[in-house]
Subunit: 397 residues, 2 copies
Amino acid sequence: MKIENPNALTWHFSERAQKLQGSAIREILKITMRPEVISFAGGLPSPATFPIEEMKVAFDKVLTQQGKVALQYGPTDGYAPLREWVANSLSINGSKISMDQVLMVSGSQQGLDLLGKVLIDEGSKILVETPSYLGALQAFSLYGPDFVSVPTDDGGLIPDEVATLGKGARLLYSLPNFQNPTGRTMSVERRQTLVDICARLNLPLIEDDPYGALSYRSEPLPKMLNMNPDGVIYMGSFSKVLTPGIRLGYVVAPRALVDKMEQAKQATDLHTAQLTQMVVHEVVKDGFLDTHIPTIRQLYSDQCDAMLAALTTYFPSSATWTRPEGGMFIWVTLPKHIDTMKLLDEAIKQHVAFVPGAPFFANTPQSNTLRLSFVTVPPAKIREGIEILGKLIAAKL
Amino acid sequence: MKIENPNALTWHFSERAQKLQGSAIREILKITMRPEVISFAGGLPSPATFPIEEMKVAFDKVLTQQGKVALQYGPTDGYAPLREWVANSLSINGSKISMDQVLMVSGSQQGLDLLGKVLIDEGSKILVETPSYLGALQAFSLYGPDFVSVPTDDGGLIPDEVATLGKGARLLYSLPNFQNPTGRTMSVERRQTLVDICARLNLPLIEDDPYGALSYRSEPLPKMLNMNPDGVIYMGSFSKVLTPGIRLGYVVAPRALVDKMEQAKQATDLHTAQLTQMVVHEVVKDGFLDTHIPTIRQLYSDQCDAMLAALTTYFPSSATWTRPEGGMFIWVTLPKHIDTMKLLDEAIKQHVAFVPGAPFFANTPQSNTLRLSFVTVPPAKIREGIEILGKLIAAKL
């Protein structure tokens, strides 16, 4: 029994903290950690793809050769050779990115927080896709914006909608490659139109691209960053091509914005671990990703195919789903009367998990949607899990 | 020559971002990185104290034995065994700290940012010491508080002042051991009085303690956390006892606050690197710090003595300074007419650097103060640098 302490405080949280809630999805994810659960709920990459040996060698080398630098405080904008590597790797399609435009961050999520800090005031209008990445909605929410959901279709965000909705907005957040949660990809034509519209509206266009390298069927499409480096804020990450647990990503933006974000980052966490940046530079500098990424693509592509085949076999014809050309997610839309939050309760009882779609909507949720990840589950288990879900859905028709 | 891009944006930054400034101190620190400069300006621990070999062995062991876990996404509140280690190490003087009260953060600076996020609204009254740690002022500033500077004397913060100033405030930020920037320590009596006053006012009391283990002359004084775990928010760090470049600290607080901070952290950077936490746990779990910390104390204590002796020899009698019993800093007060920002310009021309005191004041700055760090400079260089400063000051009398 807890003894009441008369000195215990009554908390007065900030308004933004009062709006914070325990994420329903996080609670789900805790359940899905149990080994008996077939979980399509995670947003985690497959640990089978982690280059543990290469990391081990790199940690040893960096600590041996440059231990005192690696373990000391470092610059807020990041480890210069890695910033240069990022700049070079993004200097494609005729555009030159300079390392001055690169800010290293403690995972992309921190990039979102810093963007919110420097671009969003209470009540600022900001545009997001319908649906959008939940982590971005959470990060931006802390700064109290008015979210405007831009309509989408199977080709992703519809640029012409931005022309009317975007006036006076502070930013547009987009995820053009294999979007989280839908798996959708924007065409080159749409990208170019969107870049032009945003430039005309003086609207900062955020291109979040954690999955861009994980293209299954063809070469990745051109980045909006390269279409207009002076108007696009590009976000990249080592989480999906190397490992997520090291927390390392980057934001590439015009220098005026990088300056502000660097000042905000200094107040937020001083800098991202120097050792981690030096180790990642050591791992990637000689082209390791060129041979490593294809192995990830192959694994995920095979499992994506297995899930698409299982959906065709086991899901009723009244359900529809996306056919991603890369990334980690498939988005399913069920008949309107089915609430996937309730479906999840039933699924968990049968040891299958997914993420209900509602939390991914900034405004009106579509409660008949759900997100499936195929990357951490082997094909046989994918079929087993999708069959169980299919039966649960069929029982509701 | 840069070609103007007609698509370049005109930026509309948030109000908080417009108030952000490039830190004068950061610009100073860039200059002081030059090898010919004797720098008392840094807040960096001495790299001579970094346990590089122990870290290397631990990285190798963790990656070999638990690589897939260490490199995967991890829980937002932190690596459980390390949280438990922190809780146990703070369960002293009869109070029991539970691991549920521990949130791992990406360096103490992130703890400050998260506290600002969940406790400060625009215009909230918050109390800080006079002067206070600059990084805390920067972190809190982003959330737009009204700072109230609590008067201090040679014994640090004066608790009775809090009784009148603290009504309706959201938090009191204190650094009771070898404060940054003054090096001052609060007595046990003051700590107990402060804890009682804050409890009576329902005022959350932040006890920032990065230097607590670095006590030169005696055992560390009791922590305010242990005097009232239900009313004190304790902040600890591995930066000064292990290495800062890994960015690892912790906040210990009542569970209601930890819950809110955990939700805020999820939106801010998901979690702190799992690998780093596992490695630090591996390094510290069997008592390494018990033998390691005394070596840091000895080094810093010797250099502190060298600086105090040099100050007595070379500084004019109209200057006064603190005599720290631990930590990294000495605080100097010069005659009122001397502006240490201007003094710094002259000192840098003679290859000596320090940090002017003005930026450490939340309200009225005392421009005749300065902060000296003695931890990264060997004794002979300390004497040389202090002699140069002494002459520059003497010339102004």
